[in-house]
């Protein structure tokens, strides 16, 4: 048993092949995590609720994608239905249930979300059964991996990183530059004033929640070909997303991106150097960030 293996880490850092492999492996873990975490942080930033049921949207995205893929055989449709399906689900969930607990005490919000974690898991169990399922890799991606500078890179992961990166850019630019983005940011800052200006805040809240759900669903759909599907699969992803948002700062999109990539890289390189302490490294990093910057790397001071 080797608790610390710095030789392995050093020799990896010295070899371009190993660097390429481990970096892409860190990137894909990070990018999927980013998609889930960014929805969480967005919902918190605008709606001021911590959506503990966010992992369920990741799960539904995966199951929707699997079902669409089995019915149509089209991978593009599978991804699309994962994203669109969870967006609709998110909208309904927000309008019918979450909108009733805004501004209520945190315990109440927590209880409603936790109740839906259990309900959503059981719904999945009823529809798709309690056993684990697998979607399978689309034929187009059942090809040998690419070798870049001697490192191994599966083509599917390139697509995955590309889609997630595109989502990050569209989201970032959309919020910063577009009119809707401006309204959303305003609603996050002062909902009363936005409402007084004649803007339908209910619509914005519903829209933001749907967007957050959609991003988690997209992550689930993209992960479906490589991760097994089970009721409750959203849980461990949710925990890591919380770590990401804590590191990056609640409410910050850039923070979610940087936080997620850091976690991904810590996992991929940590498993070489600290094989028995990879999980611990993640938490250790979170503690260091919390102690030195309690609002997270990109979080804003709360007055």
């Amino acid at each position: 048993m080797i608790p610390v293996d710095l030789d392995a880490l050093a020799s990896c850092l010295a070899s371009p092949a190993c660097l390429v492999t481990q970096t892409t492996s860190g990137l894909i873990i990070g990018m999927l995590l980013f998609l889930v975490a960014v929805g969480l942080t967005l919902i918190f930033g605008v709606l001021k609720v911590v959506n503990f049921s966010h992992g369920a949207f990741y799960m539904f995205g995966a199951y929707f994608a699997m079902t669409a893929y089995q019915l149509t055989g089209s991978f593009a449709l599978a991804i699309l239905s994962g994203a669109v399906g969870t967006a609709i689900l998110g909208l309904i969930f927000e309008r019918v249930f979450m909108s009733r607990v805004y501004g209520r005490d945190v315990l109440m919000q927590l209880l409603v979300c936790y109740a839906f974690v259990l309900i959503f898991d059981d719904v999945v169990r009823m529809i798709w059964g309690p056993e684990f399922r697998s979607m399978g890799m689309p034929a187009a991606f059942q090809v040998p991996p690419l070798f870049i500078a001697g490192g191994v890179v599966p083509p599917y992961y390139l697509l995955l990183i590309g889609v997630a990166l595109a989502a990050a850019v569209v989201l970032g630019l959309g919020l910063a530059r577009s009119r809707i983005g401006k309204v959303i940011r305003a609603a996050a800052h002062n909902p009363g004033m936005v409402s007084a200006l004649g803007i339908n805040t209910g619509l914005i809240y519903g829209g933001v929640f749907a967007l957050g759900g959609m991003l988690a669903g997209l992550a689930g759909a993209l992960a479906a070909p490589v991760r097994s599907l089970t009721p409750g699969m959203g849980f461990s992803v949710l925990i890591e997303s919380f770590i990401v948002t804590v590191i990056g700062g609640m409410g910050s999109i850039l923070g979610a991106l940087i936080g997620a990539l850091l976690i991904g890289l810590i996992r991929s390189f940590g498993s070489l150097g600290f094989p028995l302490f990879t999980e611990g490294l993640m938490y250790l990093f979170m503690v260091i960030v919390l102690v030195s910057r309690p609002t997270g790397l990109f979080g804003k001071e709360v007055a």
Binding site: C12, C18, M137, P225, R227, V237, L272
Partner: protein, 419 residues
């Protein structure tokens, strides 16, 4: 529009309560007077992540119980199964087991718990003296450790130590033939994963002394992503990989390792691959993974085994699991033992069960035996083979040799201080 109600309990309610109380008190007496049926209790896991353990166990039990009942029951008494969900919690399993005997009047127990719960049920059996057959726990110490031995408990399950001996023997043969010296392991980080991997490596090195373990990975149980583990193994460049990942974890691992073409770069030995629960779920099953048999209807390749697998599939619309054959075998043992004892008395049945050999579709030679000295199942079909992506999935299973198993098991028991 509100009706006012008087506080306190009304006369009618009091009468109803008294009636209910009287009925409850009277019930056991009525039940005993008419005890033509025999109740058998079964705590098992019917909900949560490993619900398949319980459902496929229950299915197999019911399949066999129907046959026994159709043939007249146990010594003329129809079997009534009382099956309850422990949710996988040992204290709940113990509570249910006790309740099944004390409150429900069950005269025997089938313990369908995973290893953690089975030790708790075992203590209940020790305390109450009720006949108990463990049907799911593969932990060797449950019967190997003499401290666990009680006259009324039996284990009708394959065993970790048997699997390790057969698996390592098979793997060592291939290691020698193909010159596989550098090995890596990747197993879930909990008791089962650590113990099973440790025993496998121990015997692999015994049979093939120049084998060297160059990389170990211990992913968390139920970890969603194994990419970092996969790439770490690729960096280490071993010639062979051993894993005891199982269920959804194993299928995730295969999907993720597949796109890195891991299976073309090393020989993979995955003891839990050849189980229909995993085989039928993986969409792109790589060819040539070495695996132990969990349950395969083509091994042993007898018409009896095939017929049993097909009958189960016809009834439940899915293939049986490893737990299914073990539970079915337990009912077969009970049936034979009661016939021989000509009684359903737990003590007499236990006496007959000790050392009993019965005909069984899952036996290596068509029979299985409940070994007398440690009350555990031996002689069951056990072997390893390589996978293909379609039925029969593992076309050619190499059977393990029970003579070798017995020799090495005896040595292992000695080394553990059990004998």
């Amino acid at each position: 529009m509100k009706k006012t109600r008087k506080p306190g309990i009304s006369r009618r309610a009091t009468l109803a309560l008294m009636g209910a109380g009287a009925a409850t008190l009277a019930a056991p007496w009525v039940a005993r007077a008419q005890a033509k049926t025999i109740k058998i209790g079964m705590p098992t896991i019917l909900s949560g992540r490993v619900a398949q353990l319980g459902t496929s166990s229950r299915n197999a039990v019911m399949l066999e119980v129907e046959k026994v009942n159709a043939a007249g029951g146990l010594a003329g008494r129809q079997i009534e199964m009382v099956i309850r969900d422990s949710k996988g919690q040992p204290q709940e399993a113990a509570r249910i087991a006790r309740e099944l005997v004390n409150t429900d009047g069950c005269e025997m127990l089938l313990d369908g718990e995973a290893s953690s719960g089975s030790f708790a049920v075992h203590e209940v059996a020790r305390d109450l003296g009720v006949l108990c057959i463990h049907t799911c726990s593969e932990a060797s110490s449950l019967t190997a450790d003499p401290k666990q031995h009680i006259p009324n408990a039996f284990r009708c399950v394959r065993q970790g130590i048997h699997d390790s001996i057969v698996g390592a023997g098979y793997a060592a043969g291939i290691a020698k033939a193909k010159g596989l010296k550098k090995w890596a392991t990747c197993s879930p980080d909990y008791a089962y994963g650590r113990d099973t991997t440790g025993e496998f490596v121990l015997y692999l090195k015994k049979f093939a002394p120049d084998v060297e373990i160059i990389s170990e990975s211990w992913p968390k149980l139920f970890q969603p992503d194994y990419t970092e583990v996969v790439t770490k193994i690729l960096q280490a460049k071993p010639q062979a990989l051993y894993s005891c990942l199982w269920g959804g974890d194993l299928t995730s691992y295969i999907d993720q390792a597949n796109i890195y073409a891991l299976f073309t770069q090393m020989e993979v030995f995955a003891v839990n691959m050849a189980d229909y629960t995993a085989l039928t779920v993986v969409k792109n099953l790589p060819k040539g993974i070495h695996s132990g048999d969990r349950y395969i209807k083509t091994f042993p390749a007898t018409p009896e085994n095939a017929a049993w697998g097909d009958a189960y599939k016809a009834k439940y619309n899915e293939y049986p699991t490893n737990w299914s054959w073990q539970n079915a075998t337990a009912v077969m043992f009970l049936n034979e033992a009661v016939k021989k004892a000509n009684s359903t008395d737990g003590k007499k049945v236990a006496e007959v069960l000790t050392g009993l050999t019965i005909k069984c579709p899952f036996g290596a030679d068509g029979t299985v035996t409940m070994r007398a000295d440690d009350h555990t199942l031996v002689g069951y079909a056990i072997g390893w083979g390589t996978t293909i992506p379609k039925e029969p999935y593992v076309p050619d299973v190499k059977a393990g040799d029970w003579k070798t198993i017995f020799e090495l098991e005896a040595e292992w028991k000695k080394s553990k201080g059990y004998t």
